[in-house]
Symmetry: C2
Subunit: 276 residues, 2 copies
């Protein structure tokens, strides 16, 4: 058996949150090598305009292509929501996998009632990409969206449980889930890579009987399917991941471990300049 295609997978995110997607990809495709790029100099993308997010994201994936990647996963929900067509055009014919489509598929697979709530950044909510993707798969779905920017700050601060996180989740979610079982959503999409870190308090605020879905596992599945279909899978043994960041590499290593679920050694993050 050949080693397959030993080129790495590129993962792009605005910062460190996409490491939750990397974690899912590592679990699903342990033999693939990964190059992760976090645009930490310009994060967050969630409060920026679609034009700016698109310009930054195209710069970032062009940089990733230098690492001879065979496919790129756009782990950032905001970039997936507003910039995917531009990224596909910039990288063609390289396969590009966003997280919004997989997240929408996960939600449609999980809901029984068709009532789906989506929480995300301001930019993702404003663009409405999740609602669109869900309606394409399930035209009768009722989608309610809510921007929850404080969850990003809480996750980065590591305050993922305790009273501040719990009260914040309650304040964002209580009115959405206030109704009875016949009217409230039964599925909640965590439409930002930072939010799975707060899954405990989010689940509690949403109440019983609500399925939490995020796009990490489904995106990993979508990547696996694309690699298989195009004969790009690697069958030999992985290799250490490479971490690239556009700023503050010490902070990347320190905060990144929270999202990756394993240590990011301080010396393993390389500083890159996307303007060059």
């Amino acid at each position: 058996m050949s080693a397959g295609d030993t080129r790495p997978i590129g993962i792009f995110d605005s910062g460190m949150g996409g490491l939750t997607v990397m974690r899912a990809i590592g679990a699903r495709l342990p033999k693939e090598r990964i190059v992760y790029l976090g645009d930490t100099a310009r994060l967050p993308y969630g409060t920026k305009s679609a034009e700016t997010v698109t310009r930054y994201a195209v710069q970032a994936v062009r940089h990733l292509r230098r690492y001879d990647v065979k496919a790129i996963v756009v782990a950032c929900n905001t970039a997936s929501a507003v910039a995917l067509p531009a990224l596909e055009a910039a990288l063609s014919p390289l396969p590009v996998i966003g997280v919004v489509g997989p997240g929408a598929r996960a939600a449609v697979g999980a809901t029984r009632t068709g009532r789906i709530a989506v929480i995300a950044t301001e930019g993702t909510v404003r663009g409405g990409a999740y609602a669109l993707a869900i309606h394409q798969l399930h035209p009768g779905a009722q989608v309610v969206q809510r921007a929850c920017p404080l969850f990003v700050a809480l996750a980065e601060e590591g305050w993922v449980d305790g009273p501040v996180a719990a009260l914040t989740a309650e304040r964002y979610l209580s009115d959405i889930f206030a109704g009875d079982a016949a009217s409230r959503p039964d599925t909640l999409v965590l439409g930002c890579t930072h939010f799975p870190a707060l899954a405990g308090v989010i689940a509690k605020a949403a109440g019983p009987g609500v399925a939490l879905v995020d796009s990490a596992a489904t995106a990993a599945e979508a990547l696996a399917a694309v690699l298989e279909a195009r004969g790009l899978a690697q069958h030999a043994g992985g290799g250490a991941p490479q971490f690239l960041a556009t700023d503050a590499i010490e902070r990347f290593a320190r905060v990144g471990g929270l999202f990756l679920g394993q240590e990011v050694p301080a010396g393993s993050v390389e500083l890159v300049d996307l303007n060059q």
Copy 2:
């Protein structure tokens, strides 16, 4: 009497928080015209490295200089803390007023015991500029610093009172102010332009007998002194301010009003590109 120097004052900030400084300048110098630039495409500066903050800030003030400004106020604490020498060099001989020096002066003026707490962004705390500036004015001062990044997100979300803000303030501050009056700080510097919006919950968490100081009023005073000393003051009638932002001008107008204390009309914010 002549109209004096009718050129505008430039105010630079990473985003909208500096509008609290603009408000203080407008109150102290109502006859001056103001051009405000918020680098909203690249905010926040508080989590970025000193090198990146310096590069961004120099680009921003160079752009402001095109408006024929007679002086520039660096309203961003992080940029004042890490980039002031570079900004002075880039703008020389134009006077440049940062907010860290005035904030330190306000703190030294307020303390009776010499025990001063400083809360700020990660970048400002890491650089230690407040501690240095305070020690230069008051060598015996005891300074304790704490990074409070969630305050930024809370202020931008408009959650400036209520239980989430109160608990967050308590969590950040309770150990600093846990001692008795003979050991706890008697002065607390709000070392980030966003923090005055949360002054109520911060004062409550710090407890009685603690003076809260911020640099807005002192920076306005420092600006007035520089204009007077150099014969740059304007004696005629102000004129409408100009708002410039590098991204998301609608959000600037909406969130900015919280900090300025008066409406920022949606059509009054001009989008500018610092890379040109």
